[in-house]
Symmetry: C4
Subunit: 484 residues, 4 copies
């Protein structure tokens, strides 16, 4: 069999033994999408400061990741060194300052001769490089796949190459989250679990919603045998790929759908909501990619929706299933338009836990969507045989408590009032590990109804938007956190 349907909590412990990291999908921020090679100590540190200042840190965004182009190559002893113009005080100094802010530092390299940006790669230098990073205090490695010398093309070839760095990181003795970035090639989803904490499962996501681009030549139909994962992949391109391998992730090992483009300007607000929602439901790492210095209210209120983040960080670590998907006639200018239902199990006080229900509507028209309890709980018993169907379920809308712009601007501007239930302070409350009480709006959103036994959840979903709901068994969820 392929996965564990029962006793997932036991598994969590077992798998996590490997390096103890990424028990829930990692959260953080990365320099690439906004800055590319034009990075600097100032950009990294000022962004880190904003992560703290604007409260992202307390929501769980923890890793500050320096992507490509930080390097000046190797010195005479073969050690990588930082570009002294961009990082005049070195990476160790940056790490020290990031740590002082209560955050962690990530760095980038490449399992090849050169990075994608043409800098020195780590292939053949794994041990010395891992030692270097550990000595600098690095906590996270994003490890890319460019210029890989042809050591690829089979799972065995690629895994062998990436395992060398795994061993090198482990040998440092420092806990370093290992984020493998081979773009989903060579069926990494099958074997990634014993190699890394996360693995990119497709090409680079561009800041666009569903436009096809020949540079991202594989769609969901050709995904599994794709030999050119590409870039300029749309959000929906990746969404429909991850549905096929959703079960491969689990505590300590995650399918990485690539960084969030939220706030970068190429999509409309509701499209960014879709990215946020599906990334959370699918248990992708949540790595922001926007220029934090240009943060606006809409962007902040998406990225800080802790009711959605609570799904991402749920202790069950179980990626949602795309239960169904249909094409719709109200297509956009690229001929795209579809509706889908995603469902998945969440931690909850009831006998069966809570349940996630996510409707996505990428058509241009608003529509009423529905899912019966039989459909929602199909995995627990097909065709109406699941016991959950006989229960009543409270429905919480996870976007209904989205922070309003006044509040978001108050955070950004450091003035005005931030209501206490606007967002969940994970730092102060032990993360997202506990059972969210139904009265905690920052985790549960807003209660919008109840489904009777055998009933159906109906939701009005606007065009190009989502409906994201958390179901809680009636009679199980009324206790407060400290009573659970």
């Amino acid at each position: 069999m392929r996965t564990l349907l029962i006793a997932a909590s036991i598994l969590t412990t077992v798998l996590a033994l490997r390096n103890g990291l990424a028990i829930t999908p990692q959260m953080g921020w990365n320099t690439w999408n906004s800055f590319g090679c034009a990075i600097s100590e100032d950009i990294v540190l000022s962004s880190a400061e904003l992560i703290v200042k604007w409260g992202f840190k307390d929501l769980g965004y923890e890793y500050v990741i320096i992507d490509d182009c930080w390097s000046a190559g190797r010195n005479s002893t073969g050690h990588l060194q930082a570009n002294s113009t961009k990082f005049p005080n070195g990476i160790a100094d940056v790490a020290s300052k990031v740590h002082a802010m209560g955050l962690k530092l990530g760095i980038y390299s490449d399992a090849g001769n050169f990075t994608c940006g043409g800098y020195e790669g780590s292939l053949g230098h794994e041990e010395i490089d891992a030692q270097t990073w550990a000595s600098w205090g690095v906590d996270y490695l994003k490890y890319d796949n460019c210029n890989n010398d042809g050591q690829m093309g089979t799972a065995q070839a690629t895994a062998s190459r990436y395992k060398v760095m795994q061993r090198a990181l482990n040998a440092t003795g420092r806990p370093i989250l290992y984020s493998m970035c081979n773009w989903g090639d060579d069926a990494v989803w099958v074997w990634g679990s014993t190699v890394a904490n996360s693995w990119r499962m497709a090409g680079d996501v561009f800041d666009m919603f569903d436009r096809p681009d020949p540079r991202c030549p594989c769609d969901e139909y050709t995904y599994l045998t794709c030999t050119e994962s590409g870039f300029y992949c749309s959000v929906m391109n990746v969404v429909n790929k991850v549905a096929q391998i959703i079960s491969k992730g689990g505590p300590g090992n995650w399918n990485d759908m690539d960084m969030l483009q939220i706030g970068n300007g190429g999509m409309q607000d509701s499209e960014y909501k879709i990215q946020m929602s599906v990334w959370a439901a699918a248990k992708s790492p949540m790595i922001m990619g926007n220029d934090l210095r240009k943060m606006d209210a809409n962007t902040l209120s998406i990225l800080q929706n802790t009711a959605v983040l609570s799904v991402s960080q749920d202790v069950k670590g179980s990626g949602a299933e795309r239960s169904w998907r249909y094409f719709v006639p109200d297509q956009d200018k690229y001929g795209q338009g579809e509706i889908a239902l995603w469902v998945g199990g969440l931690n909850g006080p009831g006998q069966y836990g809570d349940q996630l229900v996510l409707f996505t509507n990428t058509g241009t028209q608003d529509r009423r969507m529905n899912a019966s309890l039989a459909t929602i709980f199909f995995d627990s018993g097909p065709e109406g045989s699941a016991p959950q169907i006989k229960e009543s379920w409270e429905v919480y809308d996870l976007w209904a408590n989205r922070m309003d712009n006044a509040t978001a601007n108050a955070i950004i501007n450091g003035n005005g009032t931030v209501p206490s239930d606007a967002r969940w302070n994970a730092t102060a409350n032990g993360g997202y590990a506990g059972l969210p009480s139904s009265t905690e709006k920052a985790l549960m959103g807003t209660k919008v109804g109840t489904i009777q036994p055998g009933g159906t959840l109906w939701a009005d979903v606007k065009g190009r938007d989502v409906g994201m709901f958390r179901l809680r068994q009636v009679g199980a969820g009324k206790k407060k956190r400290d009573e659970l």
Copy 2:
């Protein structure tokens, strides 16, 4: 050439020389589908008792298989040990008790670092683990593919990994049936024959009939190059895959379509009949997966239809061919609906042996289906050239003698009468190896007609049901068993 059309009985001997096991597809019961990780000595032994008590043992269901989650990892000497809570007396004790009941014990491990459930895998520990199991008296190994360290992606990589265990099992000197479970990846059907007694040929079958699920992303069109076999595969998904590789099985080496879901509640009775029928016709191992303690009459009368099991266990060991398949307009809610004809050779008293004819109708409507003798015997001479067409054939309906619920309940409840021809006692009669006499209803079902030379078999097949027939040459099958 690829297969042997002539003198199959000789082959049986030759191939069987390897380890002498699974000369016909193995039969038994496995813990996973009903219990997952929540297994125990009690569940295993009480199920074994029911296998004996309810007569499954005498029908040929022989292996009691403990699936994943039995382990507590390795002890200080590197030996696997059972979880002492679940198996307080150890596996050897379970084996001993199972053997005392006249059954055999199977166990589970994984050709990777961890099992699918996150327990210790056997990769790199093949010899010591095989020795351990042999010392415990284990008779069967289900060997899974999770967390396989990237030693996959080509036939050579995967075969190399699985052959290590093959050699280790052989080295124990104990006959241990080797059930390879790499989900059909890396074209295992081509090379499995010299590695294992059976090989899973696709993803995990879920208790559903034909619903597509993105987690089982390959259908029959993408099967041969699939790199993510997945799970939540429907019965029909696997049926249409096995048709492509049906000839790869043979005595000692079988395509494994995964466990039977019969009795697990997600399908209707006639859909379970379809699974039973095609699994038997295709010569898949017949491993029950239901909770035996909750056995009901319908379930028992499917699993105990010895006229169907006689097809499974036929000494020719020749998987049936899907002669044709058409889509039909009377689709179900998932847009599925098709009809097909499967035919295959069986042991029989006539010059040409008996012949299996299986109609499947997955449309929602009842329909009359037909197959001419020219079609039924196409493999013996295309386009009307087969000599069998000139013969008359008696038609036996293999489901017509299905046990009625009163009889089934009498078995379950241990009261009432069980007619002598309700089922075939394989134990008492030397298995299924002999030629079934046409008067033995437990093996032949009910005679329903005769096809004249050049004629056609017509059958009324209900919606979502099967018609399964055994043809016997007129003049050849009237003798009794001891006269054959």
Copy 3:
């Protein structure tokens, strides 16, 4: 670049240096299709006698090939030995007698642990087996792919395995034609040229014309990535595959489309003509597979059409191109029906050589088909730029001189008259290497017209039949053989 467009005659020499065999596609007869495992010394020798008696030998059918099931395994010194019941005098004795008839002997083995029929394979025993065969006087090895131990799945894995036998055969010092039979897997058409004299390029051809069968799961659309070449492949299934790799064959190295089914009863006469014609045009080995003892006139007159064989054995060794192919509405009961044009260069007296034009019509209706000179000579200059278009061309119908049944029966029965131009005696005339004179009907068929410069060839082609023509430049072909 991929092939040599110019100076092909030079190449012939260069490539042939390897082992000097199969300079034109090998011709012969094989036991499998008619006898399977039920072979014997008597069948082999009596068939060889018929090959001589009925004149097949003088037409070029040279190799008598014993397929699977001849073996009794290895003796105490590890040498393969023949089954003493089937071959009481041993294979060496058979070879000696076959040689005495002026024919050559082929044998079968398998690059695996067991043959497809379950006998001892040669994997790991290549040297001793090659030595054994050489010592017996074997001239030809068909080397199969069953039970291959998983040493497959990449070109490198499969080539490595087959190269071991190549070296072993070469080391014997005896010229042994090496016929590789790995069913077209692992892109053998790319690399086969330095390994073997021919390579099967697809699954086993069954005696049927165009019926799809799931056991031959790949069609022309999935051919190139097929991982289960299968068997029960129709003639048209293989035809549409070979079109894609036609240029891979050449003197000394041939795409093997599998044996001829002509005379086995599953196809109608005109369908067998199609197999004969396309196999010849595509430069496949021509290995008969029928039971020679049951030869009838129709079968003999197809297999002995030396005007078609002259295409097969043409010294240019250039496989014909499928210039176009269209589906037609007049489909058969399997929904199949298509028309196609094949063209190719042949040896000829004119400046540009002769040219083959082959129309295939697999629709059920008769139709008039045509090809302009611009299309026929497209490869020499696309879109009307080829110089050949400016010439006039005589048209010879290669099937018009097919032997009539009276003549064929005279051959079979050893009575009556055989006209001197009924067939070409290759033995007496130095094979097919010389330039056929336009007056030699046995090589040229019947002249049916002339195409003017810029003109078009029109041909009436019956349903499910071919039109096969040889074009000769006007003014170049009127000389007799000894004047050329």
Copy 4:
């Protein structure tokens, strides 16, 4: 991430460090397409003379490449030697004379046992052969893939084979451009960058525009998993493949779309314009393949359009993106017809550089095509967010200044007048590296209009033709070269 969006000029330096060659796509001429094996010293040297005489050299066509069939095998010391009939003075002498003309010499070999033409291959002889070529003064190696001994089928197998020659060439100390020709197999576009200066990315281009041919069996839909790249590929077949991997090229490493067929007679003038335009836009090497001695005016004026070559040789080295593509109803006789837009960044004086806009219309009808600034600059910000949209852009038609036939004939005949702005003398002006001034018609073509902020470029494009434009930001491009 996969590529570098920022600071491309830095990258140029970094990647170029490898061997310093092909910083822009190589330009030259190759013997194969016109002469095949019928080559000679005279053909090579007389062609080189024409390259100089007719000014191709001064436009950047630098490499004179001797393709297959120059060899006479190895001498007693294992050194390759030239065919003494074709090259009576040896290759070193040819190199010396070519160098004396200010050109460079290329040679051909094969990473296999034999070349495609059947001559000695270099597999296993890499060091001695590289030394031989270096000693002869060779500057360029085209390294083919025929008869490769099965050392293929995975990226690793193929890369390993080609890397041996890479190291051998480097070891000679002589700068030798390494042009890998493995036909795009084994995903060479992913790993080629650290192995060679260019890599063929598909099968051989034949002198035809868009006719499908089964010998080039993969189209754009099956390209990425193609195992038979084939030959007789049309221009459009390759165009639609390169769109998927366009970003893999960059300074020092290029996707090679195969040689130009311009002037070979199989396409009409406007179709050759399409090949010239897309090859330049996609940054393919520009290697002429026509018989220079038969040069006509139309051919010369395409190959000498320096406004198009300036795109090819642009220092950004950034392949254009195929922004969209649609099928059109006005198909040709092969059922082909499509329109597409390609856009890409170019070096330019403005803040954002210049921008290439290329419309292709392969329909049979003339049509008006358009692209909005939002579409043209999509990569800089999707859905209207790019800052370039707010600027005005001058539009230069890169084909409007195509040399007229009188001028072209003046060049060919060595009489008449060649206007100074008819073509760019790269030799005299430091190549194409500088910023082209907007008044330099030889580089900029003819100004045809201006696009206002937020506006759209409209162009009338004839059937089976292109519209190729260079956009320059208003206010940025009016300076002369020496003022830039």
